[in-house]
Each structure stands twice: as structure tokens, then as C-alpha cells.
């Protein structure tokens, strides 16, 4: 069975700083997808970034980038130039290719301080 582990329940950083959220996963699959979702206080789950396991290149979306280490089964999220609007719960998630279910980590609550 697949598992997703987020070891940081809560983090705080100053506005404009860079922050990295950790995520590790366990799977015997070779083809899969990894995601980071953001859930602000409004509670809508917003897709931040996604990575296909077969791609070696790390995904990037504006200020958000990942460090995908397939052999180590690690998928960290880096937020550069953090903004107050980045304050949210962040969930790391895993999905097997051609599967219909996603597996979430327990989440990391991120506070961006003014």
C-alpha cells in the first residue's frame, strides 16, 4: 500500500523568505503522479503543482517549485518570496498512474508572518 508522510505539522516563516515543506512517500509503483495542494482558510483545495514520476526535471510554477528525488521517494515543495496569501494548509498527495484514487499526507500548516 502507498503512504504519504509529511513530517512537519506546522511551520512559520517571515514574509519574503523562502520555505521548504517536506514530503516522503512509499510505493512499489514505477509510474505515478505527485501533487501539492494548498488549502487556505476558505477551505477550497487548490492544486499548486504536480509532477509525473517519469520526468526527471523538477516541476515549477512561478514561485513554487519541487525537489523530486525518485530514488529517495522524496517530494519537497519550495516556496520562494513567500507572501501572506501563502498562509494555508499544504497537502502532499500521491496517485498511481491510471488509478482513480489519491492518497493524502496529513498536511503541513504554513503561517506566513508579516
Amino acid at each position: 500500500a502507498q503512504t504519504v508522510t509529511q513530517s512537519q505539522p506546522e511551520m512559520s516563516v517571515q514574509e519574503a523568505e523562502t520555505v521548504t515543506l517536506s514530503c516522503t512517500y512509499d510505493t512499489s509503483e514505477n509510474n505515478y503522479y505527485l501533487f501539492w495542494y494548498k488549502q487556505p482558510p476558505s477551505r477550497q483545495m487548490i492544486l499548486v503543482i504536480r509532477q509525473e514520476a517519469y520526468k526527471q526535471q523538477n516541476a515549477t510554477e512561478n514561485r513554487f517549485s519541487v525537489n523530486f528525488q525518485k530514488a529517495a521517494k522524496s517530494f519537497s515543495l519550495k516556496i520562494s518570496d513567500s507572501q501572506l496569501g501563502d498562509t494555508a494548509m499544504y497537502f502532499c498527495a500521491f496517485m498511481k498512474q491510471q488509478d482513480d484514487k489519491i492518497i493524502f499526507g496529513k498536511g503541513t500548516r504554513l503561517h506566513i508572518l508579516p
Binding site: 477550497q44 483545495m45 487548490i46 498512474q97 491510471q98 493524502f104
Partner: protein, 117 residues
């Protein structure tokens, strides 16, 4: 366009009421989901409608019943709920890619806040 529409956004119901949460997507996605989420927890999967069949998380009580009138709609019927059922209910959809032609991703609606009194 990655829009999943949920109605109502807020619902307050008594324990003897019957109500429904509605979810709609017009992206041609082949899977739809209902999740329950409590505060500070990840979403928990309740139901999946995919490959034209419904899968049920066996831990979900029978007072929740899904209905899939067509491939664009997945409603959640609520009957005789308990106060502990108060939560955020998230609907989602996924294209269910075949191979790498479409990147498989789950897209969420804005959620329906349910309060049972």
C-alpha cells in the same frame, strides 16, 4: 477550465431532515468523488464514481447515499445525520487519463459546509 461546482455552499440541517448536496462538472471527466473533511485533517474519501461504477468506502454510514444521474453529476443524499457528521464536504473530478496523453489530476470544488444540529 477546471471547474467543479458544488451547491449549496452552506447547509444547516436537523437530525431528522433529508437534504442533498449537489456536484456538477462539465469537463468531460470520467471520475467524480465525494470527500469528507474535518478541521486540520486531510480529506477522507467517501465515494468514487469511475469507469461507470460506484465505489463506496465501507466505513461511510448508510445515512449518506450517492446518486449519479449522469456522468456530469454526483449528488450526495443526506438523511438522519448526526452532529458528528458536521464537516466540509468536498466534491472532485478527474479525467482518468489513459497513458500519458492527459495528466491525471483530481480537481476540487469549493466545498459544502454542513452543520447538523
Amino acid at each position: 477550465d477546471t471547474e467543479v461546482t458544488q451547491t449549496p455552499k452552506h447547509l444547516v440541517m436537523g437530525m431528522t431532515n433529508k437534504k442533498s448536496l449537489k456536484c456538477e462538472q462539465h469537463m468531460g471527466h470520467r471520475a467524480m468523488y465525494w470527500y469528507k473533511q474535518k478541521a486540520k485533517k486531510p480529506p477522507e474519501l467517501m465515494f468514487v464514481y469511475s469507469y461507470e461504477k460506484l465505489s463506496i468506502n465501507e466505513s461511510v454510514p448508510s445515512r449518506f447515499s450517492p446518486e449519479c444521474p449522469n456522468s456530469s453529476l454526483l449528488n450526495l443524499h443526506l438523511h438522519a445525520l448526526q452532529p458528528e457528521d458536521s464537516a466540509l464536504y468536498l466534491c472532485a473530478s478527474s479525467p482518468l487519463s489513459q497513458g500519458f496523453a492527459i495528466l491525471n489530476t483530481i480537481y476540487f470544488g469549493e466545498g459544502s459546509w454542513l452543520t447538523v444540529v
